[in-house]
């Protein structure tokens, strides 16, 4: 079992949630989403995001509109749909539960170790 794989899986697991969260308040185009995610070190390479965006869009959680760009090709601005907002709300709950649970478990472990 490679540590790299486990790490990547962990990251990928929360990626969908993070993408939806980035789009929570404002529509954004891919580079902006990428910047946020890269700053947070959630993404190493950009490629990963495209299949995810397409899947989220196909699932009806996201939609997009085209906007002209001055420096390159037209950009796709993604935004949350109503379903996407509901979905995100549920994920928020799940995430905080999970966070608590993980915290609880790991803290207990470290307490025991001491």
């Amino acid at each position: 079992m490679k540590i790299e794989n486990t790490k990547a899986q962990m990251r990928k697991g929360v990626l969908e949630y993070c993408i939806l969260s980035v789009l929570k308040d404002d529509d954004a185009y891919v580079a902006e989403i990428l910047d946020t995610l890269k700053d947070a070190k959630l993404l190493v390479v950009e490629g990963t995001i495209y299949p995810l965006l397409t899947r989220l869009k196909n699932a009806g959680l996201l939609n997009y509109r085209w906007e002209e760009s001055t420096s390159g090709p037209p950009r796709k601005y993604y935004g949350l749909t109503e379903t996407g907002k509901l979905f995100l709300k549920e994920l928020n709950t799940t995430w905080s539960e999970l966070q608590n649970a993980v915290n609880l478990v790991t803290r207990k472990k470290s307490n025991k170790n001491e």
Binding site: K12, A31, E46, T48, Y50, P51, T54, S69, P73, K76
Partner: protein, 605 residues
């Protein structure tokens, strides 16, 4: 100095170095391969292209700047390797995908591995495909070739022609079953360069070796030769020999195969074109009523619309020809894009359905003829024993058909303008009777799906005749309404004539009489236009030319007299007189009298 390529990436124009372009293309290709269509491949790719275009435009300072390998590398490192694009489906997919399994063991394809070939690379290609060492495959080929008496040589050649050679790196990877991604392609290319450089140096070495070896051999045979080198030489020369022979054979077989391919294509295409024309000309007639052309419609007693039948026939014949055409094309174009399994199976399905349809139509059609029934109408009439009865056909030109042909069903309109069928399927049978009255019996026959239908159709046949004193006048056609369809309507006229009277069948009855007399029919075509006397079960022709036909013989002796001539045979002696001359012969002497004169040949010389 570098060549550049102009590319359009997401609608933006870029100059790019050729090698950088190749790299980018391979990269995009590899990414494309890592998705399936169900994941929205084309959309993902266009998004990625757009992003790459954006990244490039960030790096291009002015219009004339060319994108080089460095920029492409940077972009690839930002975007990530194709492996990174593969999102772990198990985490995200709502339902487990069966396609997942296929991805984990990339599908292999059969190619010819010309890098490791002895002849055509078929064996090593099969080896890769089946995951067996090529040596075993070669051994099996050899055994099969010997065991089958050469059949497998032909099959080998077929493989050689039909299986594409692994040319590109992607081909080679698909052949060996390694997943196609950038790192593998690069590895493969590196391997390729190594092996090429090795081969080049090998060849160079071998050439110089063999040249010097040959020189040595010729000048000094006794000189010691490096055995190992020689062995290598033999192997390499066997390889080059087979390569050369292979190239030549390959060339001829390619030519031959292409020829066969062209032939198949021509056959397939022309058959298809003919069928399409046939389909339209037949199908169209049903929609546009061209008088006389809806004949087929009426023949179709089974009530199946003609367009359906022609469509079924079109599919059942056309689809095999289409595949023939496709096969021809496939032979011509090695890596022809497949028409796809869906298309193939759809066509196969349509074909099977058409065949079934045709069988059903055929059965229905046949069942229309299941019953053949008749309706009989009789009329007696008196004829004085001393009188001569005249029988003639009432010649009608009303339907413009004076020419008689059996089963000549025609289509016409009667005086009211209704569509009718008329046919001249009429037969005259003459029998003798001891009654004093003559009888004319009209028997009408028709086919039908069942007894009632057949009887009804037979009843619906209208046929006219008239008896006027000593003259019987018979129509030479029968008619029935078009709705009765062509169902083998037939009229038999049976004349029972009292013995002793004289009858004269006019010349126009000839084609309605039987060709020969038989039990129950005493007048035949040869009696037409003659006076015949009715006797018990036979007639005596009063003015027929006398016919001689004598044939008396036993095993060894015999005499034969007819219009051909006279032939007499006694033991081994014979005499023949005919229009060629006289021929006589016994064991000792032969006499010939003919246009060449008299010839006498005797054994007693």
């Amino acid at each position: 100095m570098n060549k550049t390529v102009n590319i359009n990436l997401a609608g933006i124009f870029f100059h790019i170095d050729e090698d950088a372009y190749q790299k980018l293309q391979r990269y995009l290709e590899a990414i494309k391969r890592s998705f399936t269509d169900s994941q929205g491949r084309s959309e993902i790719i266009s998004d990625i292209e757009a992003r790459i275009a954006e990244l490039f435009s960030e790096r291009v300072k002015h219009d004339k700047q060319v994108i080089g390998a460095k920029e492409v590398d940077e972009v690839i490192s930002i975007m990530g390797q194709p492996e990174d694009y593969l999102v772990d489906d198990e985490i995200f997919e709502d339902e487990p995908q069966p396609a997942q399994k296929r991805k984990s063991s990339p599908s292999k394809k059969l190619f010819r591995d010309t890098d490791n070939s002895y002849i055509g690379g078929v064996a090593s290609g099969l080896g890769h495909y089946l995951g067996i060492d090529a040596v075993w495959i070669r051994l099996i080929w050899l055994l099969l070739a010997i065991g089958s008496g050469g059949t497998f040589i032909f099959i080998y050649i077929l493989f050689w022609v039909l299986v594409p050679e692994a040319v590109t790196t992607a081909d080679k990877l698909t052949m060996t079953g390694e997943p196609v991604n950038i790192s593998n392609i690069e590895k493969k290319i590196k391997d390729g360069f190594d092996s090429v450089s090795e081969t080049v140096s090998d060849v160079a070495k071998n050439v110089s070796d063999s040249v010097s070896g040959a020189a040595k051999n010729v000048s000094n045979a006794a000189k010691k030769v490096d055995i190992k080198k020689q062995g290598n030489n033999i192997k390499s020369s066997s390889r080059t020999f087979f390569d050369a022979i292979g190239d030549i054979i390959m060339f001829f077989f390619t030519v031959f195969a292409k020829f066969v391919g062209i032939l198949l294509m021509i056959v397939g295409a022309s058959a298809l074109i003919a069928l399409i024309i046939g389909l339209f000309s037949l199908g169209v007639t049903n929609f546009i009523h061209i008088p006389g052309l809806d004949l087929v419609d009426v023949v179709n007693a089974g009530n199946t619309p003609i367009w359906l039948v022609s469509l079924l026939a079109f599919f059942s014949i056309g689809i095999p020809f289409f595949f023939l055409f496709y096969l021809g094309l496939k032979i011509l174009v090695n890596n022809l894009k497949s028409i796809g399994n869906i298309a193939k199976f759809t066509l196969l399905g349509i074909w099977i359905l058409s065949i079934i349809g045709l069988i059903i139509v055929g059965v229905r059609q046949a069942s229309e003829h299941a019953f053949n029934e008749r309706v009989v109408e009789k009329q007696e009439f008196y004829i004085a024993p001393a009188d001569t009865l005249k029988i003639k056909m009432a010649h009608t030109d009303s339907f413009g058909n004076s020419y008689r042909n059996h089963n000549s069903f025609k289509f016409a309109r009667n005086e009211n303008g209704d569509r009718i069928i008329y046919s001249s399927d009429i037969e005259i049978v003459v029998k003798s009777t001891t009654d004093s009255l003559a009888t004319l019996s009209i028997e009408k026959y028709a086919d039908g799906r069942d007894y009632e239908k057949a009887i009804e159709r037979a009843k619906n046949i209208s046929y006219n005749y008239s008896i006027n004193g000593n003259e019987v006048s018979l129509d030479d056609y029968l008619t029935t309404e078009a709705k009765n369809k062509f169902s083998d309507q037939e009229v038999d006229i049976i004349l029972y004539l009292p013995e002793g009277i004289i009858a004269n069948f006019s010349n126009n009855t000839k084609s309605f009489l039987n060709y020969r007399t038989y039990d129950g029919n005493i007048v035949s075509t040869k009696h037409a236009n003659h006076y015949v006397k009715i006797k018990q079960d036979e007639v005596e022709c009063l003015d027929c030319p006398t016919e001689i036909d004598v044939d008396i013989h036993n095993d060894n002796n015999g005499i034969k007299i007819n219009d051909e001539g006279i032939e007499v045979k006694v033991d081994s002696s014979s005499l023949k007189i005919n229009r060629n001359g006289v021929k006589a012969g016994s064991p000792e002497v032969k006499v010939n009298i003919d246009k060449n004169g008299i010839q006498v040949k005797s054994d007693n010389t």
